[in-house]
């Protein structure tokens, strides 16, 4: 099954949310450590991570696909799997 462009776009959005929210969490931890930021960004990051893994499984069509294994990497996994799936289906890479 080849990834449809809309699904790959979705994966790309989730991957960016994943990495940006992690950077926000770490930045907050190292600086002001505001509790509100942590308890808000934490679940957002968790959701983004799970979205990335689920969309990667669906688009790769198999659990043991390299794109899925990459998506499991914390933080940058989404971007890695977007790169791999985008390379396999270059038509859907408008960026």
């Amino acid at each position: 099954m080849h990834p449809r462009p809309s699904q790959l776009a979705l994966l790309r959005i989730a991957a960016h949310v994943e990495v940006i929210s992690l950077l926000m969490l770490l930045g907050n931890l190292l600086t002001v450590h505001a509790e509100g930021v942590s308890s808000l960004t934490g679940p957002v990051h968790g959701c983004a991570y799970l979205f990335v893994v689920i969309i990667a499984v669906r688009e790769a069509g198999a659990v043991r696909h390299p794109a899925v294994l990459r998506s499991l990497v914390p933080g940058v996994g989404g971007l890695l799997s977007v790169r791999l799936l985008g390379r396999q289906n270059p038509v859907s890479l408008p960026v």
Binding site: G36, S39, L40, G42, P43, G46, C47
Partner: protein
């Protein structure tokens, strides 16, 4: 912050799990309608009174499956924000919450292991990708209806647990 997390959790539960429950419940009936031969009386001429109905039902089957697929993924928000809410309230160790987590996991497993693959098989058959199905369409629709019922029952139980919170001092 707890109120915001709880709002997201409840909103997501209503908007994501509601559509899955409704669409999954309507799915088996739509599958039956899309196979006119199975339900039609023997003396009725094929497709006489319900011309085009199977095609309409087939479109409904695809749409209902799409709703289930998409909103099942959106449903991930519910447990994630639920855990965040529980952690913020300090009730993560409570028995009613642990029971809810176990039942939610079961419900998710039923959805991912039985309901969605069953729907996929039905859609694949409509698309003509399956030449020799293992069981008649009506039998598989009935099994799918049972799995969907189990899923809905589990979710209803979790919802009631969330409201009653047995053993909790803040319970209703």
């Amino acid at each position: 912050m707890t109120k915001f997390l709880l709002s997201v959790h409840v909103l997501a539960a209503i908007l994501a799990i509601g559509p899955v429950a409704v669409a999954a419940s309507m799915f088996p009936a739509a599958v039956r309608r899309s196979h006119p031969a199975a339900g039609a009386p023997d003396n009725a001429p094929a497709g006489a009174a319900v011309d085009g109905a199977p095609a309409e039902a087939a479109a409904a089957v695809r749409t209902l499956h799409r709703i289930c697929r998409v909103y099942a993924v959106v449903g991930v928000v519910v447990p994630v924000f639920g855990l965040a809410t529980a952690s913020s309230l300090g009730v993560l160790g409570d028995a009613w919450l642990i029971a809810s987590i176990v039942l939610t996991t079961l419900a998710a497993a039923v959805l991912v292991v039985f309901v969605l693959p069953g729907q996929e098989a039905a859609v694949a058959e409509l698309d003509g990708e399956v030449t020799a199905p293992a069981a008649p369409a009506s039998a598989r629709a009935a099994r799918l209806a049972m799995h969907t019922g189990v899923f809905n029952l589990l979710w209803a139980t979790v919802t009631v647990l969330m409201i009653v919170r047995p053993g909790s001092t803040t319970g209703a």
